[in-house]
Structures are given as C-alpha cells and as structure tokens.
C-alpha cells in the first residue's frame, strides 16, 4: 500500500464501507446517504469515477454482473481494500483520541 493512499477522501471511505457486502451503484448511493443521515449525496459522476479508480487499484472487484443487462453490476471490497480501510480507521481513531484528550484537558 502506498503512503499516499491515506488519508482517503470521504467519498472513497463510504464507498469502501458500502461494498463490504456485494453492492451496486444505486445501493452504494443509498447506503452512503443513510449512514451520513442525508449529509452526503454521492453524485453519479463521482461514484463512477471512484469505482473505476478503486477497480484499477485492486481495492474492489466486480462481484457479479447480470448477463442480460450490465446495469446491475455488483462490487465487493478486496483484501487489499480492507487493509487500506483498516489503516484509515487507525488514522481516524488517532485523530479522534487526540481531539478528545485536548477537549478533556482543562489545564489551559
């Protein structure tokens, strides 16, 4: 994993969360909106670009593709993708811990 992969953009972070189980484009948009309570609406252009990039990087793979119509392509996170996500969670946890420590510290 390259160092520049971290930090993830918020879009990539939520896309990777959404493909822990096989999921298609519309499902990823819906799940991200639900998880962020409507704050984040993934645009179709952003999602398409991000999925192509993640496929190229090997962080996700095509899980299934309907033969009659390719409209329902499902994506699934790979082991490499899970590893990147874990690294990002460590970074986020560190940031959260530091912020909590500063907030709870009343010495100044």
């Amino acid at each position: 994993m390259a160092a520049k992969d971290i930090p993830l953009t918020e879009s990539v972070f939520y896309i990777l969360l959404a493909v822990h189980c096989p999921n298609h484009g519309y499902g990823i948009i819906q799940q991200t909106a639900e998880r962020t309570k409507g704050r984040m609406q993934l645009g179709p252009g952003t999602l398409y670009t991000a999925l192509r990039t993640l496929l190229d990087k090997g962080w996700i793979e095509v899980y299934s593709r309907e033969t009659a119509s390719r409209r329902k392509t499902e994506y699934l996170i790979t082991d490499r993708g899970k590893e990147v996500l874990s690294q990002e969670l460590v970074r986020l946890q560190e940031a959260l811990d530091n912020a909590k420590t500063v907030q709870e510290d009343s010495t100044c």
Partner: protein, 234 residues
C-alpha cells in the same frame, strides 16, 4: 422545437437546459449548438452535462452505470454527454467531491488545450494561405473565425486552471497574474485583428508598407501576448 445556442461552458449550458425544463421543454437531442426540444411537464426533468474521455464518447459501461443509478443519457455530441433524471429534491450534481471534480476538469482542460492549439494552427494556416498569390478573401474570414474561437478556448483554459487550483487548494492566480492574463488576452485579440487586417489590405488600394506594418505589428503583439500569458501562470 429547435433552438440554436452555442456554449463553451457545460455548466452554463446545463443551467439553460434546466430553465427550459422548468418552462416545460425537454431536450430530445443536441449537437453543434442545435438543441431539439419536445413538450414535457414543467420541471419534470433535471439535466447535467458530463465530459466522457475519448472522441467516441462514453462506452456501454458508462451508459449502463448511469441507467442503473436512475440517470438517463439523453444524447451525446463528441465527448459531451447530456444526462437527465426525474426531478428530485436538490440540484442534480454529477460530481460531489473536490477530488473527482478536479479530475473531471483536468480532462476538460486537456481537451480544450488541444482544441485551442488546433484552432491556432488553423488560423496560422489560413493566414498563410490567404497571403499567398492564390489567396482568397473567404480564407481571411474563416481565419478570423478561427482566431475568435482560439481566444474563447484560451480564456476557458485559464478559467478551468483557476477552478482546478481552487479545488486542489493550490491557490489561484493572484492580482498581478490576473492583470497579466487580461492584458495577454487583449494583446492576443489585438494581434489577431492586426494580422488579419494586414492580410485584408494586401493588394487593396493602400501602400504596401501599411499592410506589411500591420502584419508585422500583429505578429509582435501576438508574441508579446504569449509572454504575458505564460507569466500569468499561478
């Protein structure tokens, strides 16, 4: 209904198409500035325009993906794809984060740079052809058109470069650079007009020196414009 509207900014074109949709007109097809509309319920659709890489436009993969997320590709012209969805709350934004917005604008910038260069070469070629003994008047008019298009694309390239820099937080052109850019574009326009005027006056009932001076002055001004534009880089 058929309308002619030429846009060099896809967001402005999409805004106009959305206004037409509010008035009850849905786009059926578009290309080369011509837009074909059919009646629809006012505000029935929301439109956005995307830029797909490659001269052949978007592939089946792109079209299938968009259809799968509830977006219908209405038509395409070159790399430009017009998309629509049934009206939903909020604006129809294709790109919702800075990284993908910047990546898309970079692709458009590359396309505009190439187009600008091609137009500039057309301008130069037509000017040379017009200056030859077999030169025709119409060549100068076409050269003038190519010159105007070159200027428009050059201005759009600068706008896009600023927008990308802003998205990537790398800063935009400062006051001095912006001033240099405006002067550069003005000099380029003056240079193109002078070169064309010099060519137009060749063979007319004016002293040969005047047309030669105009052409020479035009070329020098264009070179000066190039220096100013290079200096205006952020």
């Amino acid at each position: 209904m058929l309308k002619f509207r030429l846009y060099f900014n896809k967001d402005k074109a999409a805004a106009w198409v959305n206004r037409m949709s509010q008035e009850g007109w849905a786009v059926q097809s578009f290309g080369a500035g011509l837009w074909k509309f059919a009646r629809c319920a006012p505000g029935e659709y929301q439109y956005a325009i995307d830029f797909a890489s490659g001269i052949s436009g978007p592939g089946a993969d792109y079209t299938d993906f968009m259809t799968g997320v509830g977006v219908t590709p209405v038509g395409r012209w070159g790399p430009w794809v017009l998309l629509r969805r049934p009206t939903a709350p909020g604006p129809f934004e294709l790109y919702t984060d800075d990284a993908t917005k910047a990546a898309q604008q970079r692709k458009i910038l590359t396309f505009f740079k190439v187009t600008c260069l091609v137009e500039l070469l057309c301008f130069a070629g037509l000017c040379l052809a017009a200056a030859s003994p077999d030169g025709e008047w119409w060549m100068l008019f076409v050269a003038g058109f190519a010159g105007v298009v070159t200027l428009i694309f050059a201005a759009r390239c600068f706008e896009l470069r600023d927008s990308i820099a802003q998205l990537e937080n790398s800063g935009t052109a400062g006051g001095a650079a912006l001033q240099s850019r405006k002067r550069g574009l003005l000099c380029l326009a003056i240079g193109l007009v002078c070169t064309l005027s010099g060519l137009l006056l060749r063979g007319a009932a004016v002293p040969e020196g005047i047309s030669g001076f105009l052409m020479g002055f035009g070329i020098v001004t264009e070179l000066f414009a190039a220096v100013l534009l290079i200096r205006s880089r952020p």
